[in-house]
């Protein structure tokens, strides 16, 4: 493919550029083929919408509009999701016994980063704009790193065996993430499936689980935190993406 071929593609959008390209088209078979294929699709005739079907669809739309209340901006849903996820995370963190052996200041920093990850995830999960996705992913990665590196480094003997205690923690992360996942699924059905948005919602839900668990867990070793706090959190996010992919949507709006 030479550069003229790319210009032929551009020229399809501009009648003047297309006229200027005519000499090239006479000599370049590839460009001629491209232009011809474009013309064939451009001039394809398709059946128009049946009049009865048009009336039926219009009436369905009118009925939907009559039944729907006033349109709420997308950020109302995002705020509701933030309230649910932060509510679950903070309630878990406050109500369960606090046994984390790290300094309170360090726990607050990790908690604040997890709350930021929840905020960024919820916003991205429901925003019609695409530009927040990287922010949500970065917030989740930074807070995950903080969870792993912000532990006390201690493994008290009374906490139980490595796998036994670990499974308990992983289960807690997943259980605390479930209400957040349910809320995300409910709200995200109002838009088309987007892997990035589903991932953002899953990361926020997992962060809510990690936030609830963090002050409760007495084990501060990085291995435990990575394997049984962060891994289940990311597994929740992956599961939510896979589940959402198959979920029927109420709307296909971006």
């Amino acid at each position: 493919m030479n550069i003229r071929c790319t210009r032929a593609l551009d020229a399809l959008e501009d009648p003047r550029a297309f006229a200027a390209l005519q000499p090239h088209l006479e000599t370049c078979a590839e460009c001629r083929a491209l232009v011809e294929a474009h013309a064939r699709v451009r001039n394809a005739r398709t059946p128009s919408l049946d009049a009865d079907a048009g009336i039926r669809i219009r009436n369905a739309g009118r009925a939907e509009l009559a039944a729907a209340g006033r349109a709420r901006p997308w950020w109302v849903g995002a705020l509701a999701l933030v309230v649910v996820m932060l509510g679950v995370g903070i309630a878990g963190a406050v109500l369960m016994p606090r046994e984390n052996l790290a300094s309170p200041a360090l726990q607050i920093v990790v908690g604040a980063l997890l709350a930021m990850a929840i905020l960024a995830g919820c916003w991205t999960a429901l925003s019609p704009r695409r530009r927040w996705t990287a922010l949500a992913l970065a917030a989740a990665l930074v807070s995950a790193a903080a969870v792993v590196s912000g532990g006390s480094g201690l493994y008290p003997a009374w906490a139980g065996a490595f796998w036994e205690a670990g499974v308990r923690c992983a289960r807690a992360v997943v259980l605390y993430a479930l209400p957040s996942c349910a809320a995300a699924l409910l709200l995200q059905r109002r838009a088309a499936f987007s892997p990035a948005r589903a991932l953002a919602a899953g990361l926020a839900a997992g962060a809510a689980g990690a936030l609830a668990l963090h002050p409760h867990c007495p084990i501060g070793q990085a291995g435990h935190l990575a394997l049984f706090h962060v891994l289940p959190w990311f597994a929740v996010a992956a599961a939510l993406v896979l589940f959402q992919r198959r979920l029927p949507r109420r709307s296909f709006a971006p």
Binding site: P47, R58, A60, G61, E64, A71, A253
Partner: protein
């Protein structure tokens, strides 16, 4: 206005339909009114775009009956998700983004059920015209493209969108759109030659 060749058969209306019709309001103003629940605004938008969306979906899916169902889904989505419409964004691009998403979802479901797109192409009624064979060749060739290529080509050639607009509609990069279009057109030309050579 679209040019009608046969009763019920049209070539695409690629005029910039987001612009206000003579003496009418722009799509964006109508959408703003629809957000407030104005039924007449919905009627006006439906009147302007329903047929074009149906024809776009017919080309996209290769099935007029399914396209009818998805046209309904597209306009119901406009109502259900009107709170997600961003003021200042082109309504036409938003509408085509919804229709594209609906088509993608439908094709994913069909693939899951094991259906094949080129088998569906036969459900598109054949026009009683001397061009019917050529029309069928285009349909069959389109059906044999990859979904990503077909999506870009139908938006570009049929809906008359620029690559930048398509990138906005499909939420992907402009370069990716151009690459898909170039490969798609090349493949389409090969397939058209192959299909027509067999006849």
């Amino acid at each position: 206005m679209m040019k009608q060749f046969l009763p019920g058969w049209h070539t695409p209306d690629v005029s910039p339909s987001a612009a206000p019709k003579a003496g009418g309001e722009s799509d964006e103003v109508l959408m703003e009114r629809l957000r407030q629940g104005d039924v007449r605004a919905f009627d006006a938008l439906f009147e302007r775009h329903a047929d074009a969306i149906h024809r776009f979906l017919t080309l996209r899916l290769g099935d007029a009956a399914r396209a009818e169902d998805l046209t309904q889904e597209t306009f119901l989505s406009v109502i259900r998700a009107r709170g997600r419409y961003l003021v200042g964004r082109s309504f036409r691009q938003w509408l085509y983004a919804i229709a594209s998403n609906a088509a993608r979802h439908e094709l994913r479901t069909l693939r899951r059920e094991g259906a094949r797109l080129h088998q569906l192409a036969v459900s598109w009624p054949v026009a009683a015209s001397s061009d019917a064979v050529a029309e069928r060749a285009v349909r069959e060739a389109l059906a044999l493209l990859t979904d990503a290529q077909r999506e870009v080509i139908v938006l570009h050639a049929y809906a008359g969108m620029t690559f930048a607009e398509i990138a906005e509609v499909l939420a992907c990069g402009c370069v990716a759109v151009r690459v898909r279009a170039h490969r798609g057109y090349r493949r389409l030309r090969e397939l058209l030659g192959h299909v027509e050579g067999k006849r």
